[in-house]
Amino acid sequence: MPADDAPDGTDAGPPYDCPYCDGRFHRESYLSLHRGQEHPDALTDAERAAFEAAREEEEEQLRLFRLQALAALVFIYFGFLLVYAFSL
């Protein structure tokens, strides 16, 4: 996936165009997800496999994000708890 290392994402790297609508994406995985969500009846077996793989990858990233978000929540909560304890 060449667009993976696009510096800041915006308008950099070759676009991946959806053949069914005017959707246009920076990553192949975004295109695969888009086709699976918006044009599910038009998928070939290979495209379906690509959709599943992209979903897998997305799930993995989401799992990591949830952990980070949870850590941030815990940090914010106990941070405020301590600050309140000292300032009241």
Binding site: T10, Q37, L62, F65, R66, A69, L73, F80, Y84, S87
Partner: protein
């Protein structure tokens, strides 16, 4: 899969309870600051502000735990018809039109010839308490009934009886006239004793009547769609409400706030600007009544700035700043989400979420005012020409905590709406999350600014 969802929900519930505890503490402290005269904070100001900002940030993190596309879509699509027969609807519309027209005539007559004391004058009480505070609340809590009530729509009838002109409205004007009108009305409200002087108020209502009737006659429906700021305000607030009417005019119900997720609500850049203006004017209203503004105004006028220029200049500058900040956040979010979608399209889709915040601030601003003055309004309605002395209502100390609660609720709704819109726009859920970083940062900044204004003591705006 099932197991994982349960775990996510469990974690979310746990963290939500912590956040509520945190918010509860902050609200309790914030509440005490308006209750006593000195408005002394029970906690240091910086902690009060960062708690407010923290609650918004925590809400964003919690919302991001909802990653089920089907659930988000189901909540948006949960809509049902409200069983009202066509005859009932026609009757209600007729009654509403009658109430609107009688109300307008009463305001004009009593405003011109009634008691000069604003708290005993029907016109002042109906316009500010009944209409701008109370009625506006119904538009976002229930539904936008303004097209039915709006007495100035009789201007449309003129088109049927008289030869109707049909000038083409220049498309590039968009809703910019409504943006200008809204800013103009707020400027007028701030610099003139519009809420204290029944005669002045009557003059303004009369001028508005002439302008609006003429506009409706000349431009027809376009006038209320694009030019009239009042109709635009209620249409915008109505998008928050649970009740709405579909394309055929049948009443329908939806989960409150989810109407803001609809595509096409903000039609172009001018509609985005209108949302920014609506949010900014609530802030501006509070800002000009703070001691820091008083100091700044004195310094500016002392430094040679003409006093009459000060207020419109600040109004426009703040509006530009707001709109600029929003546009920056959208562009930044677009980059973070690696999206090819046009920044203008993203700005249109995310802008309506801010209306939930505007509605939250409106309740916080006007609920106490409405409750305190409704006995006076009832008295004036009962005896328009010689109302008795109004009964004073004293609000309990916890009331301002309730007001802060509405502000928080507005922010929560806005975060949810933006979350749902991002899921609708981007194929990857990580794109959806990343698209919200900059918008959330802007929202945190806005919350802290608003709380800072709220925590300043009142100082009457100078040079007006």
């Amino acid at each position: 899969m099932r197991h994982e969802r349960l775990r996510t929900v469990g974690a979310a519930v746990l963290v939500a309870s912590l956040a509520v505890a945190l918010a509860g503490r902050a609200a309790a402290h914030g509440g005490s600051l308006q209750a006593d005269d000195a408005r002394s904070l029970a906690i240091p100001l910086w902690l009060f502000l960062s708690t407010g900002g923290g609650v918004v940030g925590v809400s964003f993190l919690l919302t991001s735990f909802v990653t089920d596309r089907d659930l988000i879509r189901d909540i948006h699509d949960r809509r049902r018809e409200v069983g009202l027969s066509a005859a009932t609807r026609r009757t209600l519309a007729g009654v509403a039109r009658l109430v609107g027209v009688v109300g307008l005539v009463a305001v004009l007559l009593v405003g011109a010839f009634g008691p000069a004391d604003p708290l005993r004058n029907l016109a002042v009480l109906v316009v500010w308490v009944g209409w701008w505070a109370g009625y506006t609340m119904t538009t976002y809590l229930v539904g936008n009934s303004w097209p039915a009530l709006n007495p100035w729509r009789v201007g449309l009838w003129l088109r049927e009886w008289l030869p109707a002109p049909s000038p083409s409205y220049p498309a590039r004007l968009g809703s910019w006239p409504a943006v200008a009108g809204l800013l103009g009305l707020v400027w007028l409200e701030v610099v003139s004793p519009l809420a204290d002087d029944p005669r002045l108020l009557t003059g303004v209502v009369l001028a508005y009547t002439l302008v609006t009737l003429t506009g409706a006659y000349v431009l027809g429906e376009t006038w209320f769609e694009r030019v009239d700021p009042v109709s635009r305000v209620f249409a915008a607030y109505g998008a928050v409400a649970p009740l709405y009417s579909d394309d055929e005019g049948r009443p329908r119900a939806r989960v409150p706030g989810t109407g803001l997720e609809d595509e096409g609500l903000a039609r172009d850049a001018s509609d985005v600007a209108f949302v920014a203006a609506l949010l900014w004017v609530t802030t501006y209203d509070g800002l000009v009544a703070t001691p820091p503004w008083r100091d700044f105004a004195s310094a500016a006028v002392g430094g040679g700035v003409p006093a009459p220029l000060l207020y419109p200049a600040a109004l426009l500058a703040g509006f530009g700043l707001f709109l600029g900040l929003y546009r920056w956040a959208v562009r930044r979010g677009r980059r973070d989400a690696e999206s090819y979608r046009e920044p203008a399209e993203l700005a249109r889709r995310f802008a309506p979420s801010l209306l939930a915040i505007a509605a939250g601030y409106h309740v916080a601003h006007y609920l106490g005012y409405l409750i305190e003055l409704s006995p006076a309004l009832v008295g004036a309605l009962a005896a328009p020409l010689s109302p008795g002395a109004p009964v004073a209502v004293v609000l309990p100390a916890w009331f301002s905590a309730l007001a802060l609660g509405f502000v928080l609720l507005g922010h929560l709704a806005a975060i949810w709406v933006a979350h749902a819109v991002a899921y609708d726009l981007f194929p990857s859920r990580m794109q959806a999350v990343r698209s919200q970083y900059a918008l959330t940062a802007a929202m945190v900044f806005y919350t802290m600014t608003s709380l800072w204004i709220v925590s300043r003591p009142y100082a009457a705006p100078p040079f007006v």
